[in-house]
């Protein structure tokens, strides 16, 4: 068996459980698919068992998003969401779009994609907590604290389900004294809703060659903090986006500031992972952003209450893989449904989950046994989601081609003149091949954290409440142990020390005074950036024991 899987040692027979549908990941896509399946089954009085597993210690523990949400998809799923108490409490009241220079903030007209009338500032984690309640009410079984660790296949190659990870494994990989083997979950359909760069999704994309004919996926890393600010500075419903400083104009990225309820402000910073300078540190860019003279006053006298990070898929429809395969489908950001110009993806995730559920259910009705292929591609192409992503498709790659100024100019042209219908489509490249050698790039000096508005990585990770059972083997696996020093350190000055927002990677000296890469896996916030950006794809992110990772409240 593949040693990448935590289950590569098999000491005990695993128990197996049978369901009609297994969904990996209790995010907006997975929970929406589960709810839709059970709604359809209940309407048709069709028996259908749906099981959702979630690696976080509870639903919402690993969810991190801005988030401004367009409720269109939620309304399709649960039309009376308001009456059911969905946590969409803060309607957007004001949109601001800023271009930052080092000392100035210039207000730009917000492009139409960024108009947010009718949208809400939410905590996506809390929305998922609520969706989980709705799902359980319609008969979905949800198991949090269980990680999907391995894809199971039938002899004919179709997906048979997933196995959850073993618990209680010792550092050397042997079973510890409270060892508990994982469980095999068998199903006719397995939906992968792991979010961006899911570890099992990555495997099924390889197994079924789902990426053939698609552009490489391109990613960003989003780093977010939640603050409680001075009540006098708090304007519930206010949305600010910015471009420009502190990023170089060749880098795609920007910031958001969302004023939620209860004097909370979500501040986030997104950096495209196609950046080229290995000295760049998205974490430090985010910290520096808060020092801008137009931004800093908001945080003065405030208190940072939470921190986290997550990679996001920015490729759009050019990068969408084939969505379905025998025995399953990819949904949500596992496939990559984020709408980059709108800076939103949760409505797309919900819709994709619903479409996959509908396609699967139709087949359950017509096919009484065997693995099902829930191909929702046609339904997707007929939906508003496709139209929306198609219109948006050229904006992100335009920034990669022409930098900030060219990107903004092209976006204006594409949006106002072509209205998203330009007769061409720009393509993407792999993010991990983009780094230039450190010697060829200017070193970036970041200001030291002040402990009030800017912070270091460790005090930040502390606020993510990240925790992993200490005794287990590291869940960040190196394919070749020599690469971090012989290649990454030599050429790029160990960029993993800078792109990791949680201080997982550290070059330390051995007793012989030789450099060595130390992996502090316990700090990991499951953002997946290392799996994406490592130049030779030498780092493989696998799931740790279930329940490990961050414990985000209200993120």
């Amino acid at each position: 068996m593949d040693p990448r899987h935590p289950n590569h040692f098999q000491h005990t027979e695993r128990e197996a459980m049978e369901f009609d549908v297994i969904i990996v990941g209790a995010g907006p896509a997975g929970l929406s698919a589960a709810i839709r399946l059970r709604q359809l089954a209940n309407e048709a009085e069709h028996e259908l068992s749906v099981c959702v597993i979630e690696k976080g210690s509870e639903v919402g523990a690993h969810i991190l998003s801005g988030a401004v949400m367009d409720p269109c998809a939620l309304s399709e799923l649960i039309s009376d969401w308001k009456a059911q108490g969905a946590p969409l409490n803060t309607p957007v009241t004001r949109d601001e779009f800023l271009f930052l220079t080092e000392s100035k903030a210039i207000k730009l007209p917000a492009p139409p994609q960024m108009h947010n009338e009718g949208n809400y500032i939410i905590s996506l984690g809390n929305l998922c907590r609520w969706l989980a309640e709705q799902a359980e009410a319609v008969g979905v079984e949800i198991f949090a604290g269980f990680a999907g660790a391995q894809v199971l296949y039938h002899e004919d190659g179709s997906v048979k389900g997933v196995a959850t990870g073993d618990m209680g494994i010792a550092k050397d990989g042997s079973p510890g004294h409270n060892y508990e083997p994982g469980v095999e979950l068998h199903a006719r359909v397995t939906l992968f809703g792991e979010g961006c760069r899911g570890s099992l999704s990555k495997e099924v994309m390889e197994s079924f060659k789902l990426r053939e004919g698609a552009d490489p996926q391109t990613y960003g890393i989003g780093i977010k903090e939640l603050w409680e600010v001075d009540a006098a500075k708090h304007k519930p419903g206010k949305v600010i986006h910015s471009l420009g400083w502190p990023l170089e104009h060749s880098i795609y990225g920007g910031a958001f500031l969302y004023h939620l309820e209860n004097n909370q402000v979500a501040v986030g910073f997104v950096v495209g992972l196609d950046y080229q300078n290995p000295w760049l540190s998205p974490f430090e860019e985010m910290q520096r952003f808060k020092l801008h003279p137009a931004i800093r006053p908001l945080f003065e006298g405030g208190r940072r209450v939470s921190y986290g990070a997550r990679a996001l898929s920015e490729g759009g429809i050019q990068s969408l893989p084939k969505l379905a395969f025998p025995g399953g489908a990819l949904i949500g950001d596992s496939a990559g449904f984020l709408n980059v110009p709108r800076i939103k993806g949760s409505h797309c995730a919900i819709k994709s989950g619903m479409l996959a559920a509908e396609a699967a259910f139709e087949q359950f009705r017509s096919q009484s046994e065997g693995a099902i292929t829930p191909d929702y591609t046609e339904a997707l192409k007929a939906s508003w989601l496709w139209k929306e992503l198609h219109q948006a498709r050229n904006l992100r790659p335009a920034f990669a081609r022409w930098g900030l100024v060219g990107g903004v100019a092209y976006s204006a042209l594409d949006t106002y003149l072509f209205r998203g219908k330009a007769p061409w489509t720009f393509h993407h490249h792999d993010d991990h091949t983009q780094l230039k050698s450190a010697a060829d790039c200017p070193k970036i000096d970041y200001p030291k954290p002040d402990g009030k508005i800017t912070f270091d990585r460790l005090s930040s990770v502390f606020l993510s409440a990240a925790n992993h059972e200490e005794s287990q083997p590291a869940h960040l696996r190196l394919k070749d142990e020599s690469v971090p020093v012989a290649h990454n350190l030599k050429l790029y000055q160990a960029p993993e020390q800078r792109y990791c927002p949680a201080g997982v990677y550290e070059i330390v000296a051995t007793e012989q005074d030789e450099p060595r890469l130390q992996i502090n896996a316990q700090n990991c916030v499951h953002c997946k950036t290392c799996d994406i950006k490592d130049p030779t794809q030498n780092i493989n992110w696998v799931v740790p024991e279930g329940g490990g990772g961050p414990n985000y409240p209200n993120m």
Partner: protein, 249 residues
């Protein structure tokens, strides 16, 4: 023999708690909750005694809001046979908890009642002792080993500077210390089965106990931030600082 295990819903041990805006408590909105770790040890011990054939039934009980049923389901997944939820949305102090548990002891007549030595939210370390006093049962607190022998139980206690072994006549109350055992992980099939195990809901008024507070919480504050360390240049400087700044020698 029947074993009664009391469990409490508390903020998860991995969560870094923070004081709320008006200094009346810690922030609880959407914070991950879990079974108090000492209660998990209590459940584990009870289940092991059942597996050894010493106990015939394990009953889990909790007092708290509706959501505390999650912790009862966890206890059921870990091996308890049935559960009792005494539901109240109000804050309950140790004495009220002990009085409510005493009514359950009266009704269930367990041979052993196992509790955590304290809950990690308020760290009172009172309920087990109060329950023993109210019911007249013998008590073995801070247990690191429990051996049942017919109508007696030997409890090894963690005390200052060593271990103390006492023998109690059943029925008895035991409170668990950290080293008693290492709780198992709940299995996924057992979590599913736990959803179907019996869970009774009762109200404090049904049990004739008034939920009232004898204590008033005045204020909750974060501890003062720790100052960073300093490097001293010499032994003399160190001695000087210890004497004159820290005033510890």
């Amino acid at each position: 023999m029947k074993i009664l295990v009391a469990v409490k819903r508390v903020v998860d041990a991995n969560v870094k708690v923070r004081v709320n805006g008006d200094n009346t408590g810690v922030e609880l909105a959407n914070v991950k909750m879990a079974m108090n770790p000492f209660c998990e040890i209590a459940v584990e011990e009870a289940v092991r005694l059942k597996e050894k054939g010493v106990a015939s039934e394990v009953v889990a009980v909790t007092i708290g809001p509706k959501a505390a049923q999650e912790q009862l389901r966890t206890a059921l997944a870990l091996g308890a046979d049935r559960a009792i939820h005494i539901q109240t949305e109000e804050h309950v102090e140790s004495l009220v908890v002990a009085k409510l548990l005493a009514t359950v002891v009266e009704a269930e007549q367990p041979g052993l009642t196992i509790l955590g030595k304290q809950a990690i939210d308020t760290d009172n370390n009172q309920t087990g002792q109060m329950l023993a006093a109210l019911t007249g049962m013998a008590q073995g607190t801070f247990a690191s080993e429990v051996k049942v022998d017919n109508d007696k139980v030997a409890v090894t206690r963690e005390i200052d500077g060593g271990l103390q072994t006492i023998e109690l006549i059943l029925p008895a109350v035991i409170t668990t210390d950290l080293r008693l055992n290492e709780p198992r992980y709940a299995k996924l099939p057992d979590i599913m089965k736990a959803k179907k195990k019996p869970l009774d809901v009762k109200w404090p008024t049904d049990l004739g106990v008034a939920v009232q507070s004898k204590l008033t919480l005045l204020k909750v504050e974060s501890p003062a931030e720790r100052k960073g360390g300093i490097k001293v240049g010499s032994v003399d400087e160190l001695v000087d600082k210890l004497k004159n700044e820290a005033k510890v020698i």
